[in-house]
């Protein structure tokens, strides 16, 4: 394999990993844009989405013998819907009971509450998932169902191997990005979100139900995180209760990198982070180029961006409250 195809191979690897980060990062950024809260429990919402999809598969009677078209057109969407339902429900519950009571409290309070929710959700899944009759214990990793036609399928373009799971992840991000753009810019709820993020008090005076808008923001973020959860399950073929921690941390980094509060920034930040990690593994010579150092390079990039462009790559949401 020559250097050029190695470059494209790592580009594909990076873009598909970055798409996963981006899908999760949107949830951080949407919520931050509206309530200025870093929702540290968002990584766990992503984890709940994956476990929700797995639960859906269990409830369907663990179908394994479906053919490829049926699996892709029926089984996969059903799993995604199940995952989205689980994570949106959990996200709305946490918003209602962990964040809303603290909305006018000092900003540190909801942040601590978010950490509490994060620990709570991890432990709840770890301890109680296996107590549902017929469900495997979540104390260690659970194999995620494979979707014929996607799991383990790859094709060659030139010298580059493209896995179907990567296509699915990148495709999911593309579809979600279009949907999100339409939702924010073209629907009433979306525009209410923009208004609330610019000035919640005036938005309320204009007749916008701010509570509903905040719930919408949590729901949108959770839905995307659940799709990321399914993509994660398909890519790595197993899920565990701690998967949200590191993924959430990386996605948060992506959101900051792109400019927190800026939805486009979250997508760009995620992709940049993924590509930098993949490229650093291969193209930095010597001992600093091994996979062990990829996170170092990712965070070096973050520091550089924050030093020279503190608002992030695409610029943070600028709130004018004069």
């Amino acid at each position: 394999m020559d250097l050029l195809s190695l470059f494209f191979q790592q580009l594909i690897n990076g873009l598909s990993l970055g798409s996963l980060y981006a899908l999760i990062a949107v949830g951080y950024t949407v919520v931050y844009g509206i309530v200025q809260l870093i929702n540290f429990a968002h990584g766990e919402i992503f984890m709940v989405g994956a476990f929700g999809a797995y639960a859906t598969w269990m409830v369907m009677g663990q179908p394994t013998d479906w053919n490829a078209p049926m699996s892709i057109l029926v089984l996969l969407p059903v799993l995604i819907i199940g995952g989205v339902a689980a994570s949106v429900t959990v996200a709305l519950l946490t918003e209602r009971y962990a964040y809303r009571p603290l909305r006018n409290a000092p900003r540190l309070a909801p942040l601590i509450s978010a950490i509490g929710v994060s620990v709570f959700l991890q432990e709840a899944v770890r301890l109680f998932y296996g107590t549902i009759p017929g469900f495997p214990s979540a104390k260690s990793a659970i194999p995620f169902p494979s979707i014929p036609g996607i799991s383990g399928v790859a094709f060659q373009v030139g010298g580059v191997t493209v896995q179907m799971t990567a296509v699915f992840t990148v495709g999911a991000l593309a579809v979600c990005a279009v949907f999100l753009w339409y939702f924010v810019n073209r629907t009433k709820t979306g525009r209410a979100m923009i208004a609330t993020s610019q000035d919640p008090d005036t938005a309320r005076l204009m007749g916008i139900n701010v509570d509903k808008v905040i719930m919408a923001a949590f729901a949108v973020g959770a839905a995307l995180a659940a799709i990321a959860g399914v993509a994660h399950g398909l890519r790595y073929s197993n899920i565990d209760f701690r998967m949200g921690f590191l993924a959430g941390l990386k996605a948060f980094t992506a959101a900051v990198l792109g400019g927190i509060g800026n939805i486009n920034g979250a997508v760009v930040g995620g992709l940049v982070l993924g590509v930098v990690e993949a490229m650093a593994t291969t193209f930095i010579p010597g001992q600093f180029g091994s996979a062990a150092w990829k996170d170092v390079w990712a965070f070096v990039l973050l520091i550089l961006v924050l030093v020279f462009r503190p608002q992030g790559l695409l610029g943070a949401k600028v709130v004018d409250r004069a």
Partner: protein, 402 residues
Amino acid sequence: MFKRSFKLAGVALVAASLAFTGCGSRTEATTGGSAGAAKVAKIGVIAPLSGDLSALGLGIRNSVDLAIRQANETNAIPGWKLELAPEDDQATPDVGKNAATKLASDDAVVGVVGTLNSSVAQSVIPVLDAAKITQVSPANTNPTLTKGQDVANPKRPNANYFRTCTTDAVQGPFAAQYLLDKGIKKVATIHDKLTYGQGLVAAFSEAFKAGGGTITAAETINPDDKDYSAVISKVKPTGPEAIYYGGQYPQAGPLSKQAKAAGLNVPLMGGDGIFDPTFIKLGGADGDLATSVGAPVESLDSAKAFVAAYGKAGFSEPYAAYGAYSFDAANAIINALKVSLASATDAKSARQATIDAMAKVSFDGATGKVAFDEFGDSVSRVLTVYTVTGGAWKAEKTGELK
């Protein structure tokens, strides 16, 4: 992981530490019926009883429990009743150190079976050594634990430490020999940067190169990572005929699966750390290989009694890869206790005598002959190569490294 989160946000660090300390589920084990006014001596277990490696850790705990029950039933040490004191180390050195400190402060504890991870052992051994508590590991394979940092000029660092398994100094070269015999001359190595993985890969690489093989790439992964596509893409162009992985099955299973999905269709070989059914569940494919210490437990006559007794005892978890070694480790301690406790008035005063008695222990255990050399290593150098066939581990070749 922690260092990174420092740079990112101190808050995330708090979240992490909370999340991790929240994981300590303790399982109280029961021992056999009490024997009236008998004095109590405790044998501790330090192993991961929760988390990814709990399948192995619970097997260790149960097997020690079984040995203790049998000793109590047969009244192996007259006047004394043995009890089990299991502690969870969560496969984490710091947690293991706390567990060791807790056991050391319990005057009734005379011996400890554990740990599973060599990295945890490094922090546990000094604590137990200071308290003169005998430690026997069924699973630590890193050579430096018994021979010191300079393995070429061995110097035993801790007199209290013994093990019933063979070491990476035997396991790595055994794997290298097996691959060379199979005609595989080009291998890429990947390890997880932990004590076990690094040591295993180092021992393997040295023997493989000495035998005429080529290491095409030497890479590492992050044990917290789920995505290995970048490192696989880097290794693939070097054209390896096999991947040798130093680490544990939670990473090895997905690594094998991702390698094959990325078109790197070569077997993945590892040490005893990947020799577990969970490896296959998590993505290990047919043709993947593992070396493990000793002969297959099911094939040894001496092991059949253990397997039968374990089945009868009604544990809810299987004995896993180290069950028989843990059983032997516990019995080695019990054999030493027969000597040291015979004239002792209390358990604490017998600690040093137990260490002294360990050197003379020799009996036929579940894994074969159990005895320790001058460094505390098992005298057995028998290993087995297993291969995944039809979704299960099958013994391929058992041999002794000369």
